[in-house]
Amino acid sequence: MAAKSSGQLPVAKAINESLRASLEADPKVLVMGEDVGKLGGVFRVTDGLQKDFGEDRVIDTPLAESGIVGTAIGLALRGYRPVVEIQFDGFVFPAYDQIVTQLAKMHARALGKVKMPVVIRIPYGGGIGAVEHHSESPEALFAHVAGLKCVSPSNANDAYWMMRQAIESDDPVIFFEPKRRYWDKGVVDTSAIPAPLHEAHVARPGTDLTLAAYGPMVKTCLEAAAAAEEEGRSLEVVDLRSMSPIDFDTVQRSVEKTGRLVVVHEAPVFYGSGAEIAARITERCFYHLESPVLRVGGFHAPYPPARLEEEYLPGLDRVLDAVDRSLAY
């Protein structure tokens, strides 16, 4: 087992340790992508891996995302378990064809005879003041596709374990890494028995209203819940962790208790995962709901230039505004 200690690790380092442990545990695991070798990735998530596992297993690829994912599919057909890195959210689209038309459908087309244990790591989301194509949240474009699984950890411990589980999964997993949380530290317990990959987690219990989020917005929701507490409101925060499948049972249990739900994500709300959650929870909890399910997220506009992202991104105020509106019903 690689990860030696259960100390405090930043999210990026937790993923690094997870990749290391996976490379050690299974010789079929490969890491591939642009600049993942010597540089260790632009976020250093693969730092030191090529040095320790060699160029055959930690592979600097040509600059071609369709090539990266397409060859990962071929490697998977040959029995490997590729973990590919897409450098930034906005650069996954050259690979979108391979992901949607090939990766997602291969298992079904082969009557279940072949497996596609491919993990596609995508640092996603905003908040780092980057130029365009470096701050997007395209998860709905993948969650919408049958055959793919989509997850996003919100903290270091989940980052470690969810990556290990994603690599062990025989299905393709799009692993959305909340890039603005890469440097947030948390305790990583490498000896714990992790929760199932697609299970949601109640990150903070409460009674008045449920906030559901994943990835970078979990922290925002926890902060909102703390702020609301000062105003005498008890918010429950559900960390969904997985956007496909979604653990509706956990959300349902929470909403049956609180009667109110606000879903928060950075991605645009129009056709976003919040829409799916709102619909399902309304179907499941209609008689428990005290107010309509509300969504907080991005607008139907391109991700704005960095100087506007603070206003664009859902923050404490936007979340609490939705909480106010929900409670006002």
């Binding site: 642009e34 600049d35 070798g37 010597k38 540089l39 260790g40 632009v42 600097d60 690829t61 040509p62 600059l63 071609a64 369709s66 090539g67 906005g90 650069f91 689209f93 050259p94 003041g129 980057a130 130029v131 365009e132 194509h133 702020a227 129009f270 607008f299 139907h300 506009a301 391109p302 704005p304 230039p305 960095a306 100087r307 506007l308 603070e310 206003e311 664009y312 991104l313 923050g315 404490l316 105020d317 936007r318 609490l320 505004d321």
Partner: protein, 410 residues
């Protein structure tokens, strides 16, 4: 002639002051035919020739296929362009360090590749750049301050591409090669004799979009010049990670000529690009120019090249500096006097001051700009979201007035 391998990575280099007539490049008449046989795995093919008209030592040499005859003021003009471009670039790098820009992609070392090709263009020629073509933008008359907006984070583009026939910077690697090709197809349909230049990097040469652009350009005989600045690196990956053959040789497989030019020799780049543009204009279709150069700085201000490349490589390329060699030539031939250099120094200072001034007074966009220009014909949802957001923001103003409390930060 200096044949430069991608250095420090094992292959041999040679350097000599003269070239032979046998060293013809593949351009025009003879698209590289034999290239493929050279690429046998494990063999160490001789490095291909590159067109050079001015040696690193500042000596004029001739090339059988590419001649150039410039007046002294034209030579001084190229020198001025390169000096001012470098000045602008270094100013931008400092502005990033001072927090005025979020990011900067420096062109340091690539001035000759950009000025040489940029000065070969006519006004009606259209350029599709990457994110590093500050020198080409200069040649096309784009206000340098405009280039900074995107890097400062006040816009996602920032200029009207049609006002200078200089398209927006494109960050998604390789995309613009197809746009350039399509634009060139349109030029042909219009019966015009303009040409189009698609700039891209060595790394970009791996992208499917670039290969598809080659295909389309060849099939439609589009008047497009594919101008690849091989600066030896795609972030941390050396060119060998992208290609087993020299990039210019790829053109042969698509059925159009490719040529490698010394990208640090502004005269050679100018001559070769002129020829390539003429090739396009005269109905002969696309051509690939590989400008062999070097990214002297980091990939961007976010990058730390010490993690992946040795300093001696950089030092070796310093000796081939594009500006220095032209200066040596101008001085040795008595083509520019002290007053010229002093005047340029002053102009360079003034450019620095004006760029700093412009960036520091560049206003932040209005919040509501988020909703602007998303559609040409409008969209009901945007109208709704804009109104809701305006109301939401106004609620803070009301709260501020009544309770005197500030918002909690969005």
């Amino acid at each position: 002639m200096t044949v430069e391998s991608t250095a420090a990575r094992g292959t041999s280099r040679s350097s000599s002051g003269k070239r032979t007539a046998a060293a013809k490049t593949a351009a025009k008449k003879a698209p590289a035919k034999k290239s493929a046989s050279r690429a046998k795995r494990g063999s160490a093919p001789a490095q291909p020739e590159l067109v050079q008209l001015l040696t690193p030592e500042g000596e004029r040499v001739e090339h059988p296929d590419y001649a150039i005859d410039l007046k002294p003021e034209e030579l001084r003009g190229l020198y001025r362009d390169m000096v001012l471009t470098r000045r602008f670039d270094s100013e931008a790098t400092s502005l990033q360090r001072q927090g005025e820009l979020g990011l900067w992609a420096s062109l340091l070392g690539q001035e000759a590749a950009q000025i040489g090709s940029g000065r070969a263009l006519r006004d009606d020629d259209y350029v599709f750049p990457t994110y590093r073509e500050h020198g080409v933008a200069w040649c096309k008359g784009v206000d340098p301050a405009n280039l900074l907006g995107m890097f400062r984070g006040v816009n996602n583009g920032g200029w009207d591409p049609n006002s200078n026939n200089f398209h927006l910077y494109t960050i998604v690697i390789g995309s613009q090669a197809l746009h350039a090709t399509g634009y060139a197809m349109g030029v042909t349909k219009d019966g015009a004799d303009s040409a189009v230049v698609a700039y891209f990097g060595d790394g970009a040469s791996s992208q499917g979009d670039v290969a598809e652009a080659f295909t389309f350009a060849a099939v439609y005989n589009a008047p497009v010049v594919f101008f690849c600045q091989n600066n030896q690196w795609a972030i941390s990956e050396p060119t060998e990670k992208q290609s087993r053959v020299p990039i210019y040789q790829r053109a042969a497989g698509f059925g159009f000529p490719g040529v490698r030019v010394d990208g640090n020799d502004v005269l050679a780049v100018l001559a070769v690009t002129r020829a390539a543009l003429e090739h396009a204009r005269s109905g002969q279709g696309p051509m690939l120019v590989e400008a062999f150069t070097y990214r002297m700085g980091a990939h961007t201000t976010s990058d730390d090249p010490t993690r992946y490349r040795a300093d001696d490589e950089r030092v070796a390329w310093e000796a081939k500096d594009p500006i220095l060699r032209l200066r040596t030539y101008l001085e040795n031939e008595g083509l520019a006097d002290e007053a010229f250099f002093a005047g340029l120094e002053k102009e360079s200072e003034e450019l620095g001051v004006s760029v700093r001034e412009k960036i520091r007074t560049m206003p932040d966009p209005d919040t509501m700009a988020i909703f602007e220009n998303v559609y040409a014909d409008g969209h009901a949802l945007i109208d709704e979201e804009r109104a809701q957001f305006a109301e939401y923001l106004a609620s803070f103003a009301d709260a501020d007035e009544t309770a005197g409390t500030a918002g909690r930060g969005h």
